[in-house]
């Protein structure tokens, strides 16, 4: 097919559907343009930029909600009472507003000529990302991070990064993988350096840029290796091309094809590991987070991880298939990821212990959590490498991989709330005390009622990060540990990884509870007055902290777990 034919076909068949699916990204891009226009003609003095950004992201969020509704069930199964009718009406109204049709967004499949993939996984990840965007925007409104002058710049960067992240969740092509990761990275560099007056901030941004550029280069090289070797950059053709390239040879590390593939994948993983802040590509993370404002650090720690995990899932499943050699490759990659995860969590937890700056400590904590989360992907790879009827017996390895991905999705959902709460609390404390070290938290509980509520919310978040029931973090960890345990039957190395993960849970107690000790037990320093946080801050904290609890001890858990399973099944079936 020539390029002209391809274009013709695209315009006549695929374009409308693609644009419908792409609607959240388009809305965000339009908001960015609007923000800049408003600034140019001076409207931003009357309507603050934050409200325009918030309205735009809410619209994008609603667009994804409609997509999800169409995606979920062909006939919108709603209860036939008033609420069902109201929801159905609202969805139809919104659909008409955004020009979304059931044929367009309701059918999963590749779009933009196969560059991108539309399925439940992508829709759900976008929903989560846009929810996070809305929450982060509200947080910046509460804490007053960008002032009137710079509002438009800041929100432009934030929304621009989110567009990249939304795209990353649906990548189906090596080029799009690279583009989307760069698209989310470049605005992040600027956002980290956003506190212009502070040297530390600029230094952090510079470090971030240098690391980012380096890893992007390595990634690009790996990408070209893979594309050159397989003659395609389309994910779903990799497995078949690999088998063809092996040409019936047995899988061994002396085979050129295997070495090239492993090298290419490893180099690509460098770029991904950089965004996930996995050891040994984590060095930028503590510095960048310390220099950036807490709101930006919180946003980056969650959003770029979630988006890249979405891309990683797609990339990882591209290397699975039926055939002896591809199975062995998958197994290699899975065990390698598990080892990286174990190293990540151990180093993150140990390094966090010595930190005195809250943001730095939380940065190491996110490194550790990336380690836990990548274990789910590792388990999924190991399951995919199992031949049916092997060591797992009557259990279906494919079903087990669905469960592993379910664990990852659940973890990300809880992580959104618990990590955002932790960083939001840092921002609130900074606004009151102008400090961000652990000592600033001393005796926080002696403040007014609203401050006490924030303290309790922070406690819930930290306890959930450790993984103490009845909080969401525990159930998420339980799901991932379970998958690793079962995967241990296929590859006993994973049992060792499970032991390390268990040990890490205990170690992590120390540094989280150093903060809790300061907040609840230590007295306020002599010269400091008790804090008086405003009620709206407490309300925000309660809204963020409540899901942490609900996702760990309520029937809502069952709903999320089922949804996550359905989503992860869409990746495999």
């Amino acid at each position: 097919m020539t390029v002209t034919q391809l274009l013709d076909r695209f315009i006549s068949v695929d374009l409308l559907r693609s644009l419908e699916i792409f609607c959240p990204e388009l809305i965000l891009s339009a908001t960015v343009v609007l923000l800049l226009l408003c600034r140019m003609i001076g409207v931003d003095r009357r309507i603050p930029a934050c409200w325009i950004a918030l309205a735009g992201s809410l619209a994008a969020f609603l667009g994804v909600v409609v997509q999800l509704r169409f995606m979920q069930s062909p006939g919108l199964e709603l209860p036939s009472d008033f609420f069902g009718w109201a929801i159905g009406g609202a969805v139809r109204g919104l659909a008409a507003l955004f020009h979304l049709t059931e044929e367009g967004v309701g059918t999963p499949g590749p779009y933009f000529t196969g560059l991108m993939m539309h399925d439940a996984l992508a829709v759900m990840f976008r929903l989560g990302l846009l929810l996070l965007l809305v929450l982060t925007l509200s947080l910046t409104v509460l804490t007053g991070l960008p002032d009137q002058e710079d509002g438009a710049d800041f929100y432009t960067l934030l929304l621009g990064a989110v567009v990249g992240m939304l795209m990353a969740t649906g990548v189906n092509h090596l080029l799009m993988l690279f583009l989307s990761i760069e698209m989310m990275s470049v605005p992040s560099y600027a956002m980290v350096g956003y506190l212009k007056g502070r040297r530390q901030s600029s230094e952090a941004a510079l470090k971030f840029v240098v690391y980012g550029a380096g890893s992007a280069g390595v990634m690009l090289y790996g990408l070209s290796l893979l594309a050159g070797l397989f003659g395609t950059a389309n994910f779903h053709e990799f497995a078949a091309r690999f088998t063809v390239a092996m040409a019936g040879e047995p899988f061994s590390l002396t085979s050129g094809v295997v070495i090239l593939t492993l090298l290419g994948v490893a180099m690509l993983f460098v770029g991904i590991a950089f965004k996930l802040s996995l050891v040994p590509f984590h060095f930028w993370c503590p510095d960048a987070f310390e220099g950036a404002s807490a709101e930006v650090a919180g946003f980056l720690s969650i959003a770029s991880k979630a988006a890249v995990f979405g891309a990683l899932l797609r990339f990882a499943t591209a290397f699975t298939g039926d055939g002896e050699s591809i199975r062995q490759l998958t197994s290699y990659l899975g065990v390698g990821l598990a080892v990286v995860g174990a190293a990540s969590m151990t180093l993150g937890n140990l390094a966090a212990y010595t930190q005195s700056n809250l943001k730095r400590m939380l940065a190491y904590s996110t490194i550790a959590h990336a380690g836990y989360m990548v274990l789910a992907v590792a388990a999924m790879m190991v399951f995919r490498s199992a031949a049916p009827g092997g060591l797992l017996g009557s259990r279906d390895p494919l079903q087990e991989s669905v469960l592993a991905v379910e664990g990852l999705i659940y973890y990300l959902a809880v992580y959104l709330f618990m990590n955002l709460m932790a960083f939001a609390a840092v921002a609130f404390i900074r606004n009151e005390t102008y400090r961000e070290d652990i000592d600033a938290c001393r005796g926080l509980i002696t403040g007014n009622f609203w401050t006490q509520l924030v303290c309790v919310a922070l406690l819930l978040s930290f306890a959930s990060l450790i993984g103490i029931p009845p909080l969401g973090g525990f159930f998420a960890k339980f799901l991932i540990f379970r998958s690793i345990f079962v995967a241990g039957y296929l590859h006993p190395v994973l049992w060792g990884v499970l032991a390390i993960a268990g040990l890490n849970t205990v170690i992590s107690l120390f540094y989280y509870f150093r903060v809790m000790r300061a907040v609840f037990i230590l007295p306020r320093a002599e010269n400091q007055r008790p804090l008086e946080m405003p009620g709206v801050v407490a309300a925000y904290s309660v809204i963020i902290a409540l899901p942490i609890f609900l996702l760990g001890a309520s029937p809502l858990q069952a709903r999320l777990s089922e949804t996550a399973r359905a989503i992860s099944a869409s990746l495999f079936y």
Binding site: G393, S394, Q399, I468, F478, R482, V506, A558, A569
Partner: protein, 539 residues
């Protein structure tokens, strides 16, 4: 059926609801509202106690299995259920929990700062404890087990003594480590049973003997045992206990000693033993030996203390050793047949009774230490003496409770120890002699303590002017505990009646499970064996 669900759930969650009311309802801390909060908490714990009596009323001791079982679906995609129930092992412990909690709520008047936070955490703690004793789902059990961590950490860490932070984090760390081991054991059972968390069904699979292989049972038992032994606490894992008990405020020490330690024993009886009969049998001798060693070690350590509270804490280590012995005196012959099932039954009953008796006597002892500490603000045994003259009523009750701890016939401590020692003779005369000789050491440290604190010519320590007699509130707590010690000592059958049938069934099923597992050929079952149950349905 629905009624049972409501009754059990209300018993568990009434304190949580009350904690929420406290959190929102009582904002400021003036003397009036502090008084109101104290009475409110005491009232809530009292109502919870009444609810537990209602459970007792519905409970039929003649039946052996689970009663009042009530189920509600929680996470169906993972087979996790909200499943509650009561049997002869948990019923007495539920009663103990609500009674001790009510009494410690009455003892909480000594807390004077941040009263609201204290009361909230105290009530959350009660929810966790009751939940552990009623949960029949492994996942739910684990959740309740860990729910207690946070309240306990803060109760010790904020309202404790000088080294409170160290003690609190040590307690947290030990229990969390035990919890992680339990989690891994839980995953093993979950996978091997075909995604089942139901403790009754898991025990039934263990009885049938074809599901859990021998290696798996041994590994799981060791993991579970370490998790529970930390809580019990038994010898190598006990070091958190003296710190936590000493630093905790009096009412929390009462709860720690009176209820929390019992959860270790309960966990072994409810989970570790029925789920791994083969593992239990393999480890039985080690358990009895650890128990005997704990008795002697705890008693010697108690003898060496000069801190009154530390002495009582080490006496707990010593007393809980009997619990471990009593549970594990499972003697088998060459062919795997059970020798002397009545002795084993007696041992388990004795262990259960010892838990109850220790719950009463050690909570009482901690309360008595607290009463005098509130007055003179020190706990140095060498500076006491002559309290009998100044506070005769207090000293009288204290001596009753200390003698109950000593195991004087006619008081509660005697029954449990005698049952355990008698049953262990059948198992191993050597260990029985060691365990019995612990009684002499116990007598030594208790009598020496009484001599140093209550007898003697006059009190020469600091603050002699503060030594006033107990007030009505303290009197009622001391009286209730002493009365319980006497009643349990004279008519132990009130409690044995409840547990007999259940222990009988427990020993029977465990023997069946052991024999079935023992006969399985080794090749067919290994750790990497597939589960005979199908995987989760795809959704």
């Amino acid at each position: 059926m629905n009624n049972d669900l409501a009754l059990l759930s209300w018993t568990i969650f009434l304190p949580t609801a009350a904690a929420a009311v406290l959190g929102v309802g009582f904002r400021d801390e003036n003397p009036n509202s502090i008084r109101a909060m104290r009475w409110f908490t005491a009232g809530v714990t009292f109502v919870t106690m009444i609810l537990s009596f209602l459970i007792y009323q519905r409970f039929d001791p003649a039946q052996a299995g689970m009663q009042l079982v009530s189920v509600k679906s929680w996470i169906p995609s993972w087979n996790v259920e909200y499943r509650l129930g009561v049997d002869g092992i948990s019923m007495p412990l539920i009663l103990l929990t609500t009674v001790i909690t009510f009494l410690s709520a009455l003892a909480s008047w000594s807390i004077t700062r941040q009263v609201r936070g204290y009361m909230i955490l105290f009530l959350l703690l009660e929810t966790g404890m009751l939940g552990v004793f009623m949960a029949l789902d492994f996942f739910l059990f684990y959740v309740f087990w860990e729910v207690m961590l946070l309240p306990m950490y803060f109760l010790i860490g904020i309202w404790g003594g000088p080294r409170r932070e160290y003690a609190a984090i040590k307690f947290f760390l030990y229990t969390l480590a035990g919890g992680v081991l339990m989690l891994i054991a839980m995953l093993m059972f979950y996978f091997n049973s075909g995604n089942n968390f139901n403790l009754v069904e898991l025990a039934e699979m263990a009885r049938a003997g074809t599901v859990f292989s021998r290696e798996m049972q041994i590994i799981a038992f060791v993991l579970l045992f370490i998790g529970f032994a930390i809580k019990l606490p038994s010898f190598p894992f006990h070091t958190w206990l003296p710190d936590a008990h000493v630093e905790a405020p009096t009412p929390i020490s009462m709860i720690l000693a009176g209820v929390l330690l019992k959860m270790g024993g309960y966990g072994i009886l409810r989970i570790a033993m029925p789920l791994c009969p083969y593992g239990t049998q393999v480890a039985a001798y080690a358990l009895v030996a650890i128990g005997a060693f704990s008795i002697i070690y705890g008693a010697f350590a108690a003898l060496a203390q000069t801190d009154f509270k530390r002495l009582v804490a080490y006496s707990s280590v010593s007393h809980m050793g009997y619990v471990l012995i009593g549970m594990a005196v499972w003697k088998i012959g060459e062919g795997g047949e059970l020798i002397g099932r009545d002795y084993w039954n007696m041992g388990i009953n004795g262990a259960m009774f010892q838990m109850l008796a220790h719950g009463v006597s050690s909570a009482g002892m901690f309360f008595m230490v607290g009463v005098v500490y509130d007055r003179v603000h020190h706990r140095d045994l060498n500076q006491f003496g002559g309290l009998m003259q100044k506070m005769p009523l207090y000293s009288g009750f204290a001596i009753v409770l200390f003698f109950a701890g000593l195991g004087l016939p006619g008081l509660c401590g005697f029954i449990g120890e005698v049952f355990v020692v008698l049953s262990s003779w059948n198992y191993s005369p050597l260990l029985a002699i060691i365990a019995a000789s612990g009684v002499i050491l116990t007598a030594a440290y208790i009598l020496w303590t009484i001599q140093r604190v209550y007898l003697g010519p006059e009190y020469r320590g600091p603050h002699p002017e503060a030594l006033s007699e107990m007030n009505e509130r303290e009197f009622s707590v001391a009286f209730t505990l002493s009365a319980l010690a006497v009643v349990l000592g004279i008519v132990p059958n009130t409690m044995f009646r409840l547990m007999e049938n259940t222990t009988d069934q427990l020993t029977r099923t465990m023997q069946q499970g052991y024999e079935a597992t023992r006969e399985e050929p080794a090749v067919e079952l290994s750790l990497t064996q597939e589960s005979p149950f199908p995987a989760l349905p795809n959704r």
